[in-house]
């Protein structure tokens, strides 16, 4: 007889479900991508070789395995297009995340200091733009930033400029779009840590002689660091792989890795190189992901 379990059969199935989900929808597709990244391009359907076919017998599969190579990864390293795309992605993500933190922190701080009944209202104001299609919001920015757009018209009307300025198709426009789109991901984790902070801690700090500014830097800020970490990683990780915003708002002279990937996959139909680029991107993001996981774990432990 098996050891008595507190789990009933449905509970045990429910416990497996997340793993099943991860295996079916993440691990298996990733293995496909990994396999394709080790294959060669071919003018065929699908556009790569070898293709595993179990019906051809053991020898054929063995030969297919033998033909896998790391050539695509070597290509990624040798061509500066890919390296500069990775670098640009990391720089754009870093700069955007820094700006997000500078804008998001004061907003989250202000929200956490609001009277209780206003806080959920403020939260709604942060979240509601999400309910509009992401693409429509980015197109709205194109409208605002274009040559005869709202921004130039306003500046001309105020006589601040004498001729329309170029906003669209610049890195600034892209960073603006990224910051605008990701702001809730920065604000919400920051707000969560700041709102949870005991007000008595600030009273204690001021009781012990700390000015409001000193109390902020010595108590509020250090205690909000888990939120800062979570917010930054929650923004940085997806921004590195961002495709739509740079494609619509940035100029065409340099690309982020997401754009390069898209180009390889759809324009060049080079699935193996695109897959290799995707695998490297994932490897690059594993470090910040692991960091995020550790932060979350520590926060769970301290909450206990």
């Amino acid at each position: 007889m098996s050891a008595p379990s507190i789990f009933t059969r449905p509970a045990r199935i429910a416990a497996i479900a997340p793993y099943l989900w991860m295996v079916l929808l993440f691990l298996v597709p990733f293995l496909f991508v990994l396999k394709i990244s080790l294959s060669q391009t071919a003018i065929a359907q699908p556009p790569y070789l070898p293709v595993f076919d179990l019906t051809l017998g053991f020898a054929a599969i063995k030969a297919a395995f033998a033909s896998l190579s790391l050539d695509n990864f070597r290509l990624l390293l040798s061509d500066s297009l890919y390296l500069s795309s990775y670098l640009r992605s990391l720089v754009v993500a870093g700069v955007s995340t820094a700006i997000l933190l500078l804008i998001g922190y004061p907003i989250a701080y202000g929200m956490a200091r609001l009277p209780q009944r206003w806080q959920s209202m403020a939260m709604m104001l942060v979240i509601v733009p999400f309910w509009t299609s992401f693409l429509i919001r980015i197109y709205a920015w194109i409208n605002i930033l274009q040559h005869d757009g709202l921004l130039n018209k306003t500046l001309l009307g105020l006589h601040l400029i004498s001729a329309p300025l170029v906003w669209l198709s610049t890195d600034s426009a892209m960073v603006l779009g990224i910051v605008y789109s990701y702001l809730p991901f920065m604000i919400l984790p920051l707000y969560a840590t700041l709102a949870r902070m005991e007000p008595a801690l600030l009273e204690a700090a001021s009781d012990l002689g700390a000015s409001p500014l000193a109390a902020f830097w010595l108590v509020t800020f250090p205690l909000s660091l888990p939120g800062v970490g979570a917010g930054c990683l929650l923004c940085f990780i997806p921004i590195v792989g961002e495709f739509v915003i740079p494609d619509l708002l940035a100029g065409s002279n340099s690309m982020m890795i997401g754009q390069t990937l898209w180009l390889e996959f759809f324009t060049n139909r080079d699935w193996p190189v695109a897959s290799a680029a995707a695998v490297v991107l994932l490897a690059l993001l594993l470090a910040p992901l692991a960091l995020y996981d550790r932060l979350q774990r520590r926060q769970l432990e301290s909450a206990r």
Binding site: L201, D207, L208, L218, L223
Partner: protein, 387 residues
Amino acid sequence: MGLTGIMAEEISAPAPHAAFDVPLLRFDAVVKKFGVVRAVDGVSLDIWAGEFFALLGPSGCGKTTLLRMLAGFETPDEGRILLEGNDIARVLPHQRPVNMMFQNYALFPHLSVRDNIAFGLKRAGMPRPEIDARVAEMVALVKLEGLEERRPDQLSGGQKQRVALARSLARRPRVLLLDEPLAALDKKLRESTQAELLALQRRLGMTFIIVTHDQEEAMTVADRIGVMDQGRLEQVARPRELYEAPNSRWIAEFVGDVNMFEGQLVPGEAGRLAVATRDAGTIMVAEPRQPVTKAIVSVAIRPEKIKLSRRGPASDAINAHAINRLEGVVTDVSYLGGLTTYKVKLDTGAVLRSSMANTARLDLDAYTMSQRVIAWFTPDDCVVLEQ
């Protein structure tokens, strides 16, 4: 006035603080409103240097608000708060020579015990060697040696309480405020900590103001107790006076247990008043110092002042005291270890509570349910209350 007159006056001066002394702290008609609620409603109170003062009251009575005004977290709407004669009502919290020990300690979770204690010293700009010396002194004072590098979440409740105490004492404040400092501790630890707190206050000679809803705690530690209700200071007195000579029905009922009988004053003998009550007949009470002005009064008798007997007091000597005697039937017996409480249903239908110390281990003679008894008490055991 001759020399002898002055001498006599000096000798007979009863107050521990002569009239020309300035109190360390003076609340002068202080009012604090939250919306329409008057959380503190015209409180005037003097607290003297070196005193251990307790603010006692039910939750929501305004005691914590009063303390928070002293710390600077709330600003009074009316009145003044004088510290050594200077109005501090509008001085910011971080600029007051007053420190507070918070109810849930409010220790900084990201700082070690050492850094928590040193926090206020660093803000005061104390040089590093002096900070180290003071922290070591405080750690020794609250017996936390060896735990200096721990974080608050690595400490037990009692240890956290000590860190909070050390942190609030480190700056050597003129007044230490304690907001329900022992509420989070279990009973045994609370009692030993009360004793330590008292010993510490005596040793440091510092002024402590404690807010508590626990009357035993207030009685144990405080020199004087201020009882608050609905924003008002109802009575300020030493513990014994508060218990034995409450100034109102409310105080008598709030502090400890009491039997209360309402009745009408009727002519009595010299030095005694007689109160004709509906529930307990005519009760003879000792004449209070202040003359009674109202016709309808309440008589308060503490349960432990009421003795039970089978036959009533036999001795002539006791009889000579004009004992109050009531007859009834025991309806409830609660054995509490050190004492036993009884409920006696009087023949008038009213219920009288009596508690008696269990002075003998083997009490074969204890009163039992349904037993008919005589409850008796002397006129001196009664307090006459007009409001």
